[in-house]
């Protein structure tokens, strides 16, 4: 067997409470450079909350998050960005009154986590935003706003990218295209966590999945194996999103 690849992100026993409710209840998992990890689970199982904790919106109430072997739980978001963590949002959150180019420029100027040069024009071109570069983000379609979220995250040259339902609302052609782009990014060494309800998409791009339910992981392994585990099947059939 090959040795375990180095772990980029290690989440262990993370608890996040809202009032008395445990949105995360001892969540543990890890991800390595170049890996695409699927994070799946029924609505309300805590996927977005996990991303929010990893990206610094919330500090964990218990447990630890470490990135590049240093503890980062509770660290301010902009510092995490400088270490190399970035994300997209389930509901895209561009800077609405700023142009597409300005949106990316802010991240490129303030968030760059790498010394490598990254031509912004190429990035906009690659994600089909060049033709709307000078339009305010509020003019964009929902799908364009999602790609803008992604481009803005990529403009910081992250080592870990958290994608919260990026594929929801995309048509089949766009899905194939974005799947290809995500794989290309992973091949360049980026670790990517993909939260998604579309199992076909998860199947197509992930190396490994974590199945979450009620704030903790109930399965870790490949999707093909996950669907044979009774507990996983039950969680999904019981929820709205039957696989």
């Amino acid at each position: 067997m090959s040795p375990e690849p180095e772990r980029l992100l290690e989440v262990s026993g993370v608890v996040k409470r809202f009032g008395g409710f445990h949105a995360l209840d001892g969540l543990s998992f890890h991800v390595s450079p170049g890996e695409i990890l699927g994070l799946v689970g029924p609505n309300g199982s805590g996927k977005t909350t996990a991303i929010n904790v990893i990206s610094g919106l919330y500090a964990p109430d218990a447990g630890s998050v470490s990135f590049l072997r240093s503890p980062v739980g509770g660290m301010a978001s902009h510092k995490l960005v400088h270490l190399g963590i970035n994300r997209t949002f389930q509901v895209p959150k561009p800077f609405m009154s700023l142009t597409v180019k300005q949106n990316v420029e802010v991240a490129h100027t303030y968030g760059n986590a790498s010394d490598k040069a990254l031509p912004m024009a190429d990035l906009l071109e690659r994600f089909h935003l060049a033709e709307v570069a000078n339009r305010p983000a509020s003019d964009l379609t929902n799908v364009q706003q999602k790609t803008l979220d992604l481009v803005r995250a990529l403009a910081t040259q992250p080592k870990l990218l958290l994608l919260d339902e990026l594929a929801a609302g995309l048509n089949p052609t766009e899905l194939d295209w974005i799947a290809g782009e995500i794989k290309t990014l992973a091949q360049s060494g980026l670790a990517i966590i993909v939260v998604e309800h579309l199992m076909g998409f998860i199947e197509q791009i992930t190396d490994r999945v974590i199945v979450m339910n009620a704030g903790k992981e109930i399965f870790e392994g490949t999707l093909a194996v996950a669907v044979t585990v009774p507990e996983v099947v039950e969680v999904f059939l019981g929820g709205e999103h039957a696989a």
Binding site: F95, L98, V106, Y110
Partner: protein, 306 residues
């Protein structure tokens, strides 16, 4: 030509020259001075509201603090007027620092807390128990430094500084990041922007220009009461002027002052009853039809307004 330089040459420099020359051809110097003060205050509101989204209902607190900073330096330390103006600015910055926790509040909560803070400062200054220091409610008379010509020149310098700040914000990545914070503070953090630091810097810059304006105002009028320099009219006017012209631009707040303060002076004194009516209708029309200010007439068409 880089945009920054162009904005100085087409907006800031002409305005400063006009305001510097006008006193020699127009005799109502107090009116001209008030225009200078409102240019500064409307741009101060622009810095904090236009670029970061905080609407400061208590903005006059900084102005009044600056005026009293000036008065105390002159009364108790015999400070020369220019130094006292600078101290007025510093006092406002210190007040801004004390009030930074307000920036944790959002929307109307911030505005109301800021209003309350300005009232608290007014009542502190006007407190008879502090008569030894501030002259309390009885007001100050600073005859020793009375020099309207120099005070006017000081006002022009402060306007130049204020315009410099706004031109910088309009053209720098710092100003762009501030606008990003205004649009969505979490997205701004995820763009690597230190949201708390940026907001604080804008807040203090906005406090500084209002404090300097208050200092130079005290120098110019030399006799005033707490109610004069803490009058809510300053906050309301500065906000309305800035919004009317259009914030997050350099020209918008200036246009707002020229038009609205112009109208105010044309019809406000002679026929106040019409003035109130026209003013009220103008503001309602603005909020209903042009929420982004006059400049949005142009920006809607895709034209760039500096």
């Amino acid at each position: 030509m880089p945009d920054t330089l162009r904005h100085y040459l087409i907006i800031a420099v002409p305005l400063l020259i006009v305001m510097a020359v006008l006193p020699s051809v127009y005799s109502n110097h107090l009116l001209l001075f008030n225009f200078v003060i409102f240019f500064i205050l409307a741009q101060g509101v622009n810095i904090i509201y236009g670029f970061t989204g905080y609407l400061p209902f208590g903005y006059v607190g900084f102005f009044g603090a600056g005026a009293y900073g000036f008065a105390i330096m002159v009364m108790h330390l015999n400070a020369p007027a220019p130094l006292a103006v600078l101290v007025g600015g510093a006092v406002a910055v210190v007040l801004g620092l004390i009030l930074t926790p307000l920036l944790r509040l959002a929307g109307a909560y911030f505005s109301i807390a800021n209003l309350a803070a300005a009232l608290a400062v007014l009542h502190l200054v006007a407190n008879p128990a502090l008569e030894q220091i501030t002259k309390g409610p009885y007001g100050v008379a600073l005859n020793g430094t009375f020099n309207p010509t120099m005070a006017y020149a000081g006002g022009i310098l402060i306007l130049a500084l204020t315009l410099g700040i706004v031109v910088y914000l309009k053209n720098s990545s710092f100003g762009l990041a501030l606008q990003a914070v205004r649009e969505d503070s979490f997205s701004a953090s995820m763009s690597g922007v230190n949201v708390v630091k940026m907001r604080t810097v804008a807040w203090l810059a906005s406090a500084l220009v209002a404090g300097l304006a208050g200092g130079v105002f005290a120098w110019y009028v030399s006799v005033f009461y707490p109610d004069n320099v803490f009058s809510a009219d300053f906050s309301i006017f500065a906000i309305v002027f800035a919004l009317f012209g259009g914030v997050a631009t350099i020209s918008g707040p200036l246009i707002g002052v020229i038009i609205l303060y112009g109208i105010y002076n044309l019809i406000g004194f002679t026929t106040p009853q019409y003035f109130q009516l026209i003013y009220g209708l103008l503001i309602m029309a603005l909020v209903l039809f042009l929420p982004a200010g006059l400049v949005s007439l142009a920006t809607r068409r895709g034209w760039y307004v500096p």
